[in-house]
């Protein structure tokens, strides 16, 4: 398989040089599918403009494709119809379905370039490279939690202390934290990563969710239930109802807006540490399609490399609220300047090199569903932890076949 991919890549490389040499000055348009909201438009256009300054004959056309699920459906439809764009963003678990339509990019990158990518974001054969990434951090309302917790025990204690009935009517007016088991099982996955736990073993032949590390992480997660607002809503939609929350760094814009509206101060911190400091990275990657003209592929590859350059990934992160995806980007001047004026980004920037990503197993979507159900059943008391875990393990096992 690897050998075949190498040959394909070498063939494409040859095509690339031929195509590029022949058409170096011919105008080329790259079609880039995405789903970034309107507030990112200016940044995307600025990136395209900077790129075009360097390569005047290449035009980048950003094409908005609606929601993530709409984008996934459109990508799949495009592959079936043979009408693919030059490049698009992907979630990891979308990749296996269209892997044969993508170009493994490893041969196009030097060892230094690959080593520069944040370790938790490297995928097999570099079938895609990371682009817009965020990481789970701790949000806390300073009015209630003046000093953020640094360990699981401190976090638990603060959750207990901040679950309060302020007006004495027998109903809780503020919870220590908020948990979104159905819509955000990544909260649990962040704790799992901190406890050295994983869903599967390295070669995906065995479920490891129920080993000691997994069980401990799940027990800690479940212990938060009495002190947590359990919901599927965005936690910042009810600002002040929770004192702290494990949430994605990409949500800062909404947290801050809500807090300002409510006259509260929200801050971020690194996640309280379990066995080790770690967190869960979310977000999409970029892939390049095979079935495009050589000159278009070449132009797409140039743009991809441009986006990974330290200053550019730093610029994109600073403007969008995501994170630089390379170690160089995390040290770039643009990003460091951003951190100096945006303290909320410091925690995520520190955590980024320690992050883990979702696995690229073709059935990860189903596995995530199983995890969501398990977390929800445990937190809402519909099943005991042991029973819910046993069912989840058995269902994930059946997804390995």
């Amino acid at each position: 398989m690897k050998l075949r991919n190498t040959w394909i890549a070498l063939g494409l490389l040859a095509l690339l040089f031929v195509g590029f040499a022949a058409t170096a000055t011919e105008p080329v348009t790259i079609e880039f599918w995405h789903r970034f909201s309107e507030r990112h438009n200016d940044t995307l256009l600025e990136l395209a403009a900077r790129f075009q300054e360097r390569y005047p004959h290449i035009t980048v056309e950003w094409v908005y494709q609606g929601s993530y699920s709409a984008l996934q459906t459109t990508i799949n439809g495009a592959v079936v119809a043979g009408e693919v764009p030059t490049m698009t963003i992907f979630y990891e678990n979308w990749i296996p379905a269209v892997a044969d339509a993508l170009v493994p990019l490893e041969p196009f990158f030097t060892a230094e370039e690959i080593a520069d990518i944040v370790p938790g974001l490297l995928y097999e054969n570099l079938l895609t490279v990371p682009f817009n990434k965020s990481i789970m951090v701790l949000y806390y309302i300073e009015d209630y939690v003046p000093v953020p917790p640094t360990t699981w025990q401190e976090f638990y204690d603060l959750c207990v202390a901040n679950t309060v009935d302020e007006d004495g009517d027998g109903q809780i007016d503020r919870y220590g934290t908020g948990l979104r088991p159905a819509s955000n099982p990544e909260q649990f996955l962040a704790l799992l990563a901190q406890n050295n736990g994983t869903i599967l073993n390295e070669d995906w032949t065995e479920v490891t969710l129920d080993n000691e590390a997994g069980l401990e992480a799940l027990e800690f997660y479940a212990s938060l239930a009495p002190y947590a607002w359990i919901t599927s809503e965005y936690l910042n939609s009810n600002i002040g109802y929770v004192a702290m929350a494990i949430d994605t760094s990409a949500g800062w814009y909404y947290w801050n807006k809500a807090a300002e509206g409510a006259g509260l101060t929200v801050k971020t911190a690194e996640l309280p540490v379990g066995e080790k400091a770690a967190s869960f990275i979310q977000g999409t990657n970029i892939g390049l399609f095979k079935d495009v003209p050589a000159e278009e592929f070449a132009a797409g590859l140039l743009f991809l490399k441009f986006l990974l350059e330290a200053e550019n990934t730093g610029y994109w992160a600073a403007r969008s609220g995501y994170l630089p995806v390379t170690l160089g980007g995390l040290q770039s001047q643009t990003w460091l300047d951003h951190l100096a004026t945006h303290p909320e980004a410091v925690a995520s920037s520190i955590m980024m090199p320690l992050g883990v990503s979702q696995i690229t197993h073709p059935n990860y979507g189903d596995m995530r569903d199983v995890l969501s159900t398990m977390c929800e059943e445990i937190l809402l008391g519909a099943e005991t932890l042991e029973d819910a875990l046993a069912v989840a393990v058995s269902e994930i096992e059946s997804l390995l076949e």
Partner: protein, 322 residues
């Protein structure tokens, strides 16, 4: 040889004659075809649109339901009825079916009953009748997502309007959107509120079409207002009630947006997951089991089809057109 040829010719003639007999009389006339041709020409645009956007997707979805979809090698491997077997063995399908039946079973009769009540009141010579009529219709014409977002706020656990009213009566807050016990009621209340105005307007139009002669005859016979309503208005409204029953039942079976926007998911413990949500979850929310989603949509089609047929059978006996 000649004899057998003759026999064959005779049988063929008989067959043609029989076939000719089977053709309706009007079909035999060239005028019929000339007239019909124009009818079909007029119908053609609608038929083409229906064909492309309804029939083709329907048959295509049916075909897809028999395949394990493989994107690069679309449609993938033929697996017969495996998706149907999976769905019938999936506890979440049965839960979604129960949730849907529960929502349909309560919201449809409640909405029609309330609409009948509202229409009867609007049919009286009330002051501000035009204003009241418009107000009731507003819930239907306001964009659905906007309406649901407002309801999300009203259902909100800590600052929602509904819990505020409950607190006035000393009642505890209800986690409308986060407690599995209240997830379906939350959808039903929203659904009833949204459609009651529209249904009332349809029924009101029906009421205003009832000949006054029936009411005058009833009055002469000494019938009270309620008796006239029960014995004249309601029976003569059965065509409209039947129409509303069919469309609201089909609509309620297809509930999706209400659940999706209200809960940002299928509700706590999937307590409000409807059949359409189940289909979407299988096919489009991260998992992309397109064949399975197509199979589930075929099952939903079959359910709606059978229930509608049953309703039509009942309607033959219960609906009075004059």
């Amino acid at each position: 040889m000649n004899r057998s040829k003759k026999l064959l010719a005779t049988w063929l003639n008989k067959l043609v004659a029989l076939w000719w007999q089977l053709i309706p009389l009007e079909w035999r006339s060239p005028t019929f075809w000339k007239d019909s041709a124009w009818a079909y020409i007029y119908l053609a645009p609608a038929l083409i649109i229906l064909g492309v956007f309804t029939f083709y997707p329907f048959f295509s979805a049916f075909r897809l339901s028999l395949f394990k979809v493989d994107i690069p090698n679309y449609p993938g491997q033929y697996i017969g009825l495996d998706h149907f077997r999976y769905i019938f063995g999936d506890k979440y399908f049965w839960r979604a079916l129960w949730n849907t039946v529960y929502i349909v079973g309560i919201s449809v009769p409640v909405t029609i009953s309330l609409a009948l009540l509202v229409a009867s009141l609007l049919n009286k010579s009330l002051r501000f009748r035009a204003f009241a009529r418009t107000s009731f219709f507003l819930s239907y014409i306001t964009p659905m997502v906007a309406v649901i977002m407002v309801w999300r706020l009203m259902y909100h656990e800590s600052y929602g309007l509904l819990n505020y009213f409950l607190s006035l009566f000393g009642m505890n807050r209800i986690a409308w959107l986060n407690d599995p016990a209240y997830a379906k009621p939350a959808v039903i209340i929203l659904n009833v509120w949204r459609y009651v105005g529209y249904q009332a307007i349809i029924l009101l139009a029906g009421m205003q079409g009832i000949d006054q002669m029936y009411y005058e005859a009833a009055r002469i016979d000494g019938a009270s207002g309620f008796q006239a309503w029960r014995k004249i208005t309601v029976p003569l409204l059965t065509p409209q009630i039947f129409f509303l029953l069919i469309i609201s039942m089909i609509g309620s079976f297809k509930i999706f947006t209400e659940v999706y926007v209200l809960f940002n998911g299928p509700g706590p413990l999937k307590a409000a997951e409807t059949l359409v949500y189940y289909i979407m979850r299988q096919g489009f929310f991260g998992t992309q089991h397109l064949g399975r989603a197509a199979a589930a949509s075929m099952i939903l089609f079959a359910i709606i089809f059978v229930v509608t047929l049953l309703q039509m059978q009942i309607a033959k006996r219960r609906v009075h057109y004059q």
